[in-house]
Symmetry: C2
Subunit: 127 residues, 2 copies
Amino acid sequence: MNDATGASGSDAVLDALVFAHEGLLPAIVQDDESGEVLMLAWMDREAVRRTLTTGRVTFWSRSRQEYWRKGDTSGHRQYVRGVAMDCDGDTLLVRVVQIGAACHTGTRTCFTGRELPAAVGDPEQDA
Amino acid sequence: MNDATGASGSDAVLDALVFAHEGLLPAIVQDDESGEVLMLAWMDREAVRRTLTTGRVTFWSRSRQEYWRKGDTSGHRQYVRGVAMDCDGDTLLVRVVQIGAACHTGTRTCFTGRELPAAVGDPEQDA
């Protein structure tokens, strides 16, 4: 694991991250109070730097090819409560205070009401 | 949004998904009881089908280029409790019962103890 100590948004912190997908990494956004997973979006190095230093979550929009500070259009801002990287440094978990709906469709999370039919596994029944 | 009704692992369900990253999509794994985000890994269409139909979470390992049924080596199995897609159909949220540590490093989640220094945002201080 890389050493990611340092000031927020410093080169030492950003250098610990791996942007393995065309210069981007996936950022999971979680409601810090409820624990709900709200959405997943993508960040490049500069979007991570802005997220770590400004208190507002910023993504890179792959479709629009521009920075996207969540809530600037919709009002549905995300305020940073904490950011962690994973063991490979190639994924971020961003805990936030979410104002309004996280999803552009108006649902609370991007996963709300989008369950897939799945067989449920049972540890008790598995050798 | 796509119609993803149908039997678990059916073509209708799988056709609703978008595998936008070299045939893969990111799957967020969340502890169904605690709400903890455990890890993120990648699935191709077949890994999703196996996850939806077998009750055990299966990924595609990009580094090893093979299917990876979580826990087969480590014993740290993930039993499916529910699977949802996001509004774009290009990300999955898989809720599980996690046996043991989710992370190969032995920590409970892949994000445990890997906090980055971040400025905290405050809705009250923001116009």
